[in-house]
């Protein structure tokens, strides 16, 4: 039985927290000593581990649309953002924390259906279960604007985290999976909404290849761990803001420049070149490795593509150059940026 359908449950925060606690408790692990219910969660790590922490804020109307996105998709995407940052460090996820602000009507069941919040947790906890990441705490508040701030805590052996700052001139540049699929799917969904077709009860299977990268991005936990354990990569991060912007972050933190081969880019079948270059939220791993390192074509089932190389940072001129059939062009960061 969905707790939200139990009429005896009073609609207060305590009752909601009890529901969440009951569901989240299923995922308890040895590392999680105390979860929801105390002032803090209490986590235990190995003596040779360092702790990774990431926070990602998702806001209705900006990171998700209440009238386009099924609640399960919002839950999945909120946690995927956090897990992807853990993957980018080569860490294993240990626990997640969720602060949720919701209008009261999203916490109440409508007719025979489940409440929005229940379906949101369905999506979030399914992905948490896939990656053995218990929901260990968080906060809940009524809010006129729906929002979710996800925190994921991970662990990585000392000194082995994959940082943004380790790339060297001469390293090759790689990316997992394909690029541009998430923003292409978002554009398609937006066009459907603009045409008056609001969120359908089911999505036609013919559209799934176009929409899956946007609706259900897969954080590359296994791939990040694989790279970390074999010490193959010199630097890495996840493609959350778009290749051009994230590669600029990597160049800045490593004090290098990059040359990208346009012809080598693994453009998603539904995406344009511009979407692959600048579209965000693909949550693929972008990493560098010395040329002598043998990087396989697939890591844990996901294709890996060499898309360019790192070079010395010029005194003047662009940090990123795109090699096109028409010659070399500067690649400006045009990815996602708030307050721009």
């Amino acid at each position: 039985m969905h707790p939200a359908q139990d009429k005896s449950v009073r609609p207060g925060e305590l009752a909601l927290l009890r529901q969440i606690r009951g569901r989240a408790g299923l995922g308890r692990t040895p590392a999680l000593r105390v979860g929801i219910g105390d002032d803090c969660a209490l986590l235990r790590f190995g003596p040779d581990e360092e702790v990774t922490v990431t926070t990602d804020l998702s806001i209705a109307g900006r990171h998700f649309q209440l009238d386009w996105h099924p609640p399960e998709v919002v839950g999945h995407r909120v946690l995927a953002r956090g897990l992807s940052d853990i993957a980018a460090m080569g860490a294993r996820p240990v626990a997640a924390f969720l602060s949720l602000g919701l209008p009261a009507e999203l916490t109440r069941a409508k007719g025979r259906g489940c409440a929005w919040i229940e379906r949101f947790y369905d999506g979030l906890l399914a992905l948490a279960d896939t990656h053995k990441t218990p929901l260990a705490g968080g906060d809940l508040s009524e809010s006129v604007l729906a929002l979710a701030d996800i925190v994921v805590v991970g662990a990585v052996p000392r000194g082995r985290a994959l940082l943004r700052s380790g790339a060297q001139p001469g390293d090759w540049l790689y990316v997992t999976g394909t690029l541009g699929g998430a923003v292409a799917g978002l554009a398609r969904l937006g066009a459907m909404a603009a045409a008056g077709r609001r969120r359908p009860p089911s999505i036609p299977t013919s559209l799934l290849p176009t929409l899956a990268a946007h609706l259900f991005p897969q954080p590359r936990i296994a791939q990040g761990l694989w790279l970390q354990r074999r010490r193959l990569a010199t630097a890495g991060l996840d493609v959350s803001d778009g290749l051009s912007t994230d590669l600029m972050h990597l160049c800045e933190e490593s004090d290098v420049a990059a040359e990208v081969e346009q012809a080598a880019l693994p453009v998603h079948p539904a995406a344009t070149l511009a979407q692959a270059l600048h579209g965000g939220e693909d949550y693929e791993l972008l990493f560098t490795a010395a040329p002598r390192m043998r990087i396989p074509r697939r890591i844990a089932g996901v294709p890996v593509t060499r898309i360019g190389r790192m070079v010395r940072r010029p005194r003047t001129g662009p940090a990123i150059t795109l090699q096109t059939p028409e010659g070399a062009q500067p690649l400006e960061p045009h990815g996602w940026e708030h307050f721009a």
Copy 2:
């Protein structure tokens, strides 16, 4: 120079993040290996330490008022909520993370003054500095509603965290400081706002004793550490939702009941009895200890008061009883609850 007053700074997220990074970097500690600027922060703990994590969401109109509260006060209070949870576990704070959603106008300087966001960070970072807690990461997004989700990570020796679940029948019940002062100050500030006196540029010093508990609550980090190191307490938590509600949490988690002596309550000079019983946000520590344990009258400069004792949980009847001059009365939890 305030970075926000530098006209060359473009008003984008990256520029704002750079400002914050520059300011937060001042607080770097040996435990913080990598702070703002990578996918995750990277923290290092001692081999015998457990890690405490807490998240607290603050939303404009609900947890703070943009037209009543000076931005420094909002920043202070946001971090105080998180630090207080760390204190309640008997842990030491290691790092803080802040997810901030703000309307664009709060990120821009008006005339010769500083931007709201700058003053918010002034308040938050001053408290962070007091408790040697670097700001190690977070997220930033434009939002029509101002909101701040604070995460604080702490450390405590293995098996030594002060939990809510350890109270035993026969234990005495203690509280630090005074109760009701925060809600009394909030009521006074609300009355000033309702009378048309919006946030004054300076608060009359005659009002400070009334307002300080609300405007600048002090997380009891030193007191929590003191109790943990001496193994004096059996259970503890912080008074964030109000004595009646938080004591109910403690009774439920420990499966005990409580008797509170009304005459013993350290009521704040500006507060009523009802405010002391049910008013939240005092951020004092509420803890239990065996009667043979000698608890001093002050811990790290803050008064400690014995206010009652823990008893067996009755099969029926109230979990909390208030001993008044007129006899024993059930004490119902009437503290703060969202979605109620």
